[in-house]
Symmetry: none
Subunit: 536 residues, 2 copies
Amino acid sequence: MRTIEIYDTTLRDGVQDVEIHLSLTDKLRVAKSLDDLGVQYIEGGWPGSNPTDKQFFKEMRSYDLKYSRLAAFGSTHNPKHKAENDANLKALIEAKPAVATIFGKSWDLHVTDALRIPLERNLEIIRDSVAFLKPHFEDVFFDAEHFFDGFRENRDYALSSLKAAHEASAGVLVLCDTNGGTLPSDLREIFDVVRKELPEARLGIHTHNDSDMAVANSIVAVKSGASQVQGTINGYGERCGNANLCSVIPALELKCDGKFQCLPEGKLTHLTTVSQFVAEIANLRPFLRQPYVGRSAFAHKGGIHVSAIQRNRRTYEHIEPEAVGNEQRILISDLSGRSNILEKAKKLGYKLEREDALVGDLLAEIKDRENRGYEYSSAEASFELLFYRVMGWSKRYFTPINFRVTDALLQGEEVMSEATVMVKVRGQVEHTASTGEGPVNAMDRALRKAVERFYPCISEVRLTDFKVRVLSGTTQGSPGTASHVRVLIESADKNSRWSTVGVSHNIIFASWNALVDSLTYKLFKDDPRKWPNHKP
Amino acid sequence: MRTIEIYDTTLRDGVQDVEIHLSLTDKLRVAKSLDDLGVQYIEGGWPGSNPTDKQFFKEMRSYDLKYSRLAAFGSTHNPKHKAENDANLKALIEAKPAVATIFGKSWDLHVTDALRIPLERNLEIIRDSVAFLKPHFEDVFFDAEHFFDGFRENRDYALSSLKAAHEASAGVLVLCDTNGGTLPSDLREIFDVVRKELPEARLGIHTHNDSDMAVANSIVAVKSGASQVQGTINGYGERCGNANLCSVIPALELKCDGKFQCLPEGKLTHLTTVSQFVAEIANLRPFLRQPYVGRSAFAHKGGIHVSAIQRNRRTYEHIEPEAVGNEQRILISDLSGRSNILEKAKKLGYKLEREDALVGDLLAEIKDRENRGYEYSSAEASFELLFYRVMGWSKRYFTPINFRVTDALLQGEEVMSEATVMVKVRGQVEHTASTGEGPVNAMDRALRKAVERFYPCISEVRLTDFKVRVLSGTTQGSPGTASHVRVLIESADKNSRWSTVGVSHNIIFASWNALVDSLTYKLFKDDPRKWPNHKP
């Protein structure tokens, strides 16, 4: 078994993503989580380019990392002076990480058109920069920028750039597909040539996803002898992003006949958690369809598929979801039938028989609601509440009596939203009002105001997403403003996340229903006495 | 040059995506757009499985497709009876598409564990099903489900399933990586064996993205001799999705030394538009980092990159974005917008100079609005009104003064919506009110009531679509119910169709703005005296 070094650059190349802006605290939290996962290297930033990154390396000195070594990123020295006078290289040394990684030019076009210096001078710069850094670090890695593009246009020159770094004792020569334009078949051929030309060098791979090939290219490189893979969590990065480590790692560990190990024993099962954590810190909506770790990666919707996986999970699952810390999901949808319901019931702890009358009731109820535009596959909390009600659960934490929401444009450009809400809670009628940023926000605030006095845990609920879908295609809805509307609300507290749905021809009422379900689900889930006598 | 058949299954396998629910009208619009793009085959649905798909094929008979052939999907016949008695096969014939595609089992595990029939019986079923369908269609394609998994476990049996379909004259044998678990190197080896075993058969490839390899696998298959690629727009599909045609097509056309052609000449430049259109219809947020067609695919953030691409675009762009209809974006700089504005002005009949002050004004106005969440690419009518206003057009058909909308749940399950509207029209203040099915419908009715007396042509306007997107990603918006909301309204009269946009943190106000623009645009477009003196 060969150990493949995972070099995470989420904190440096990943933050080049248009949507990502991390604070110092964010970066420290991500670094901690990467160490827990057990990647070999964490590239923390470019200390020569901005104060946050400089501070990051300073702060990191107070942390003991358990599995990872810290790396700092920089470029070869400025052509205008010598290595020892270069502020950028000095910043690397001052950052005091275990490893320095510097990038240099491998593509002659960049040397002549971007740097505008003679080709030979660039090789000298690479050699001097690596040699100057070497005594200050455990290791120095060389990122050969645009290596594959360079190789295609001037093969000898691209190879010379690697040789220059190698002669100066760079520990790993990292071949970069900087523009992400290389196909796996071309990458393999080029990799094979490099291996022949530099048989003793340790090689790494750094790819971008502009051709949708970053993961495939990383795997090809490892199979062709690369010992280090650079990438980011969730594939974050500039343009189309970097190689997604959440796909690279399981492919190497689970799909290559046990030839490669990337993480310490037992850590692969943490992958989904780390993926979600980094998305959370970056404040990005997780990508549902993301391979291996996405929420839909093992979600089954079609009835045929569901009945097959019940007999044998391998029929529609390429790996066991648990291997990467993910889980199977059975979706309730209009394509589904009895077997989906049974499976879902099983997950909620009920063993029902196929011909059970309750299953028929539940199915009829769901079908009726789906005809009206309800969609439970992405609103599992609403489904769960519906399920328990059909099963006989009848507790009511609060009962809405009525509400009114007014939006008024009175003067100028500002609209005022005001909601009044009347709710019965524990036998008492609460009548409250609130303004808000928009009608749904006003209703949300008024409703909480009414309920929170009785159930303080309501204050922990945050609404994390709000989706509106106009159902122009349902039988009841005609297109245009009189259509049916489906509202999905995602909520979270410190422990979990749940989704609820509401449907009406009135967008306000649809939102109201989803809100009521969201707060009810929170109370239900936290309620130690939700089953007064016994679970139905 | 070899022509590769593109077989789009967005309308069948794509709609298995957890997030996608298409109405009949949605499906017809997507089919039209795929034909415009010029894919060879459009798989419209599974007529034997649900009434919408059955209806789709019926409706499609009224359309002349310019480039595409229609295909319907189904399964091999039920083991319990003969092909000629199978309802599913009959539904295919009744659907009357040019091509029928049926899937059958190639993996012995599925035959024994899911179908629970003898292995030999499955081969007979494949043979009989293809043979029975053949006379009714231009061609019959065979999707060999789980072919690669099956091959790994029982190579001879997997091959026999292909041979059965081939003997019965299936036009294309499509090797399916149904669970998406195959790596490109394995796929290539298996493909090569199949080519040797069935040298005369035409082969196709159908992959899923569970290993992040769907696109790489499709390219490998074509290089190994596949003549058909099945996939979906934007990679939509069950679990992690299908092969993304928006990545497959440009890789084959632009990155394989001109060996392959997928679309009619000149159509590749429509790819970005089609990708955006399908996302819009599916009401899904476009994936910014999507290769080739994503909004960030050619977005440059770093200062070094920006100055390099200004010298030579090849330095950080793997293809010319225009080749796929996308565009370069320079972030935090107005360089990107100016040429777009000039281009748009030209389309409206104005030849403006790059340095014209009006161009700067317009650009500033658009940037400001885009920062607030406006999006003009799908709201051309709103853009046109904005453009003429900045150019000096100042006619006002009506001026909104104020409005108020109330939604109230009073008794039971019914919500009442009532709007009052105050508008100045031709110097007169009109104050009207209306109820409606939901708040937007109430506002729409009240506004028309106020304006129609002066402009009877308003009665011709129908609102044909209404879309809501919550912008949790804008700088102003925090997630949850206090986010910014963008409303897109599509309107039509007997001659034309137009789209308008409104943005606000208040969904009601966003809708109001889009409504006001819609009616204004109708009056503008029908007004013979819109330029009192001369066009500005």
